[in-house]
Symmetry: C2
Subunit: 317 residues, 2 copies
């Protein structure tokens, strides 16, 4: 039987999971709702049942489980104080899940998982120093230095979504103000559009959509049609992202920075200003040296793949 790792991308709303072979092929995948489960117990039971069906159906042998989750503590296998999950406090996810599977398990945050996926199966193959920025509901990041994922003392390294842009700025889910992800994320650009609708007095096709209903995809489509506010929103996003990437560069001196996620569908609308402002704010010795690239896992489920890749990389042979 083919050996596979179960990769799990645990999100606030949905959880995606799939069986990944050593070469990085997702053999079969599925998803289930996260937020209907009030307790970790019923969630893990449901996840076990559904993943077992996949394992059997694909006629495979499970050799490991990799989980990408928000606020994941790699060292302890715990999820700690996640703002977007119903399980509050500290959840010992890995310990509890050993009730179901007796194989090596690794838990890390979804952006770290994406970085490992990029290194093993994507555009970072052969690179030893790079950063992956995931642009979803929030902004996640995985930092690789000297070929190793940066975990730090607490296992929480690489939380660039909560680096500070403006301490008097936008309210953040973390309880502070002005974090990078309040500007640069699917949610962040929506907030920017609303700010700009005010500045431009509503000269935009986005004027008919409520705050609740507006999506990053709509903003992307509007920008591609030449909508002034949508284009300005990407410029604004790229300015802040570019500036903070220049700061990230002085920390870890990466060879490349990969952008992953929905916002990258805007292509040059997001890449051009981000690159321009990154170079404008870059310290001289780094100018023109750091590649800004689109993730090569963009069309695939990077967190499922990456969580599984981490197990293949660290736990098996």
């Amino acid at each position: 039987m083919k050996e596979v790792v179960l990769g799990i991308d645990l999100g606030g709303t949905n959880t995606k999971f799939g069986l990944v072979d050593r070469e990085g092929n997702i053999i079969i995948e599925s998803s289930m709702p996260t937020d209907v489960h009030e307790t970790i117990g019923t969630f893990q039971e449901a996840l076990y049942k559904r993943s077992s069906v996949l394992i059997e159906r694909a006629n495979t042998q499970l050799v490991g489980v990799g989980i990408g989750a928000p606020n994941a503590n790699y060292y302890k296998g715990t999820i700690e104080y996640p703002p977007n999950l119903k399980w509050k406090g500290i959840t010992p996810f890995v310990d509890l899940f050993t009730k179901y599977y007796n194989v090596p398990m690794v838990l890390t945050n979804d952006a770290n998982a994406a970085a490992i996926g990029e290194m093993m199966y994507g555009g970072a193959k052969g690179m030893r120093d790079f950063i992956v920025i995931t642009l979803g509901t929030g902004l996640g990041s995985g930092i690789v230095c000297n070929g190793q994922l940066l975990y730090g003392h607490d296992g929480f390294a690489g939380e660039l979504g909560h680096s500070l842009v403006n301490v008097f700025g936008r309210t953040c889910g973390c309880g502070r103000r002005g974090c990078l992800e309040t500007y640069v994320s699917a949610t962040g650009i929506k907030r920017t559009v609303y700010k700009l609708l005010a500045d431009y007095n509503g000269e935009s096709e986005l004027v008919d959509t409520s705050f609740e209903n507006l999506t990053a995809d709509q903003i992307t489509e509007a920008a591609k049609r030449g909508d002034k506010v949508a284009i300005a929103a990407f410029e604004y996003t790229g300015r802040i992202l570019g500036m903070k990437l220049a700061d990230a560069v002085v920390h870890s001196s990466p060879e490349a920075i990969f952008l992953f996620g929905g916002l990258t569908k805007a292509d040059e609308h997001i890449f051009e200003p981000t690159k321009r402002y990154m170079e404008e704010h870059m310290l001289g010795i780094f100018k023109g040296k750091v590649k800004l690239l689109v993730s090569e896992l963009n069309d695939r489920n990077a967190a499922v793949l990456g969580a599984a890749a981490l197990v293949w990389k660290e736990k098996i042979h």
Copy 2:
């Protein structure tokens, strides 16, 4: 004969050098001017002559040379575009110095050297994840992750002095504006005092000193005597440093941050506000966890020691 490494702390004005044994004792040390040498050739010749005298006098055997220098490229052994040295462009320091010594050599920036010194002989013994911030004319930093000094792709990682506080802020020697070291360094606090002398209309004992003559030590002494402007200058410095340290923490999740250098002589005047603002701006999962410590190498020549320590650590056995 006792084996020693020649540790060199190459600064813009002076160069300090000493012979360091494996246990981190500086057996003998000396210094010479840097800025009288218009070319690297005459500088290295003078350095060789003076260090050879030390080696002979101490009756030791040289087994390595470690150099801490500004804008040092660890991988290439070069000093690249240093704003404060007379040798412009790229100087292949290590290659040229092999003319004099045929032993393993390592070149890195002085803050990286200080971080290695802290790890081998100072307060970071046994730590795997920490940051050393050196507060001198500028602000240097050495980042250690997973027990390894972070060099990054280009060998220039850890340039936190050039992370951005305010892109419209103070002019920096690097040609940009608002870099951290324009606020947080011996020079930075002097600029802050002058700003505050304006704000407070000169209600300070520092009002009699010219910009050119004012030193960080004078500001420290004034603060200890209760001078309003000097105390406010440390508060201002601590606010900006604390905020940027919170940002550094989300990058690499250190166990501790060490402050090194002249400004730390101000004791609680600098540590208390830095700690307070660092905690205020800290992401929840890191709050109360990251130690802010004074370097245990403060009274010793950390860059000489650290440059030598790097050779002992990486090049010998």
